[in-house]
Amino acid sequence: MTAAIVGIGELKPVRRTTGRATLEMIAEVSRAAVFDAGLEPGQIDGLLVGPQVGETPQHVPATVCEYLGLHPSMSNVVDLGGASGAGMVWRAAVAIDAGMCETVLCVLANNREAVPPRSPNRNPIREFDVPFGASGANISYALLMQAHMSRFDIPPEDYASIAAWAQHNAQHNPDAIFYGKPATVDDVMASPMIASPLHLLEIVMPVAGGCAVIVTSEAHAKRLPQTPVMLLGAGEKLTHRAVSQAPSLTSGPLKPAMARAFHQSGSTADEMDLLSLYDCYTIMVATTIEDAGLCPPGAFGQWLRGRNLGFDGDTPLNTHGGQLGFGQPDLAGGMTHLVEAVRQLRSNTEGRQIRNAKRALVTGNGATMSEATALVLGAAQ
């Protein structure tokens, strides 16, 4: 492990702050450290923050990166109490060693109001989006979908076909929430409009559940009973938190994240035997197919036509049903794509094994196409 600390910042302590948000304090001290280092803000490509950003209970790194205008390719909350600052440094070092980023901003700050504000959630999205009736993720993804649809003049049935394929694949997974309840493109189009252009069946169903995986060294893996599945490449990118701040509505941070994962693994999207793509909404899969380079922007519909996305088809995609077919157990929903990829690469998926599966792409996505992680996994040689 080799890493150097090249810049520092510190705020003069005060007993009380008045009317200052934690985000402002983070901005001020980050500015001091970055300028102390003689860097430009755009050179920061890693971001480690603490959990105590009072006005932002969730999506803390995305909120901080949006506020600061950063687009990091590695980000984390480090929640180790008084050990958080030191804990950030070695995490930054291993991320740099792993080729995930080059220069990491590690930042902690807090405000201290005499009277704590009545509403604890005072982040920018709460102040500038929620008052206009834009609560919840549905509207954000509807805005992404309408922009994509209008820009490329895509018929709504093309998006609906993604949900229909998810429901089709769920019929091969007895654990899926939609097992035994297939839906056609017509069924998807006939389901109620929730926030135009999103229909009910284009939106994941929230469920309870859970996922876990065990990661170990290659050497240790050789001594364990399971056929190991190897991590061949990874990529990550954060660009914003609120959809209004997205640099693009028709391409997302998964594009650079997948590019890094493919580069690290020495493979291309076309070489994947399984596409295990995060699918909170149909539009997310459409944009991911395009961002992966499988087809030009706006051409996912043509790309899908004539393909078979089943486990026994030419282009297996979300063979467990995706979250659209399996259900979304909150944060674990994204992890179902990972667990299915491991099952397929172990070649022991019951009732839906892809023949000769060697490589899989797994994508994760958070907030409003804001936080993206891509993995390329490989079967043991």
Partner: protein, 148 residues
């Protein structure tokens, strides 16, 4: 629609000291944004530093109150129960003439359909007892994005 909006019981903006000038301007029917004296970019939402160059030398400037609709959604099933009486309302992303994008409520011009690319103009509106910078489509102002 406007009466329905006025009578909603919905969460208002959670302003802080830094963002107060923005909301005060809205109360008097004006739209203001920050401008960076370092790099010249206009900034929205208001911040403690410029997200482009990290200068903290920022000024409040008057915005034209015009823009273009980048996307929109008609909300039939609002996530917040307070918005249910207004179901069918339209949320949109407005690219301000000055550059930044803001999310807002979109009021259609008459009964005309709303489209991506429509020109919009600020139309301060009482929503749940507070003035918000709502926007209205203005079909007589096409191609605003091509304006200098």
């Amino acid at each position: 629609m406007t009466d329905a909006l006025k009578n909603l019981t919905v969460p208002g903006p959670t302003m802080i000291a830094l963002t107060e000038p923005f909301w005060q301007a809205v109360e008097s029917g004006r739209l203001t944004v920050q401008k960076c004296n370092g790099c010249g970019h206009h900034i929205f939402y208001p911040r403690a530093l410029c997200p482009h160059c990290w200068s903290n030398d920022l000024s409040w400037v008057e915005a034209a109150g015009t823009g273009t609709l980048k996307s929109f959604s008609q909300v039939h099933r609002p996530a917040h129960p307070g918005w249910v009486p207004a179901a069918g309302y339209i949320v949109g992303l407005v690219v301000l003439t000055e550059g930044p994008t803001m999310l807002s409520l979109i009021l259609p011009h008459g009964d005309q359909a709303v489209n991506v690319g429509d020109a919009v103009r600020m139309h301060p509106t009482n929503v749940g007892g507070r003035m918000l910078p709502v926007f209205k489509t203005t079909p007589d102002m096409e191609n605003l994005e091509d304006a200098p």
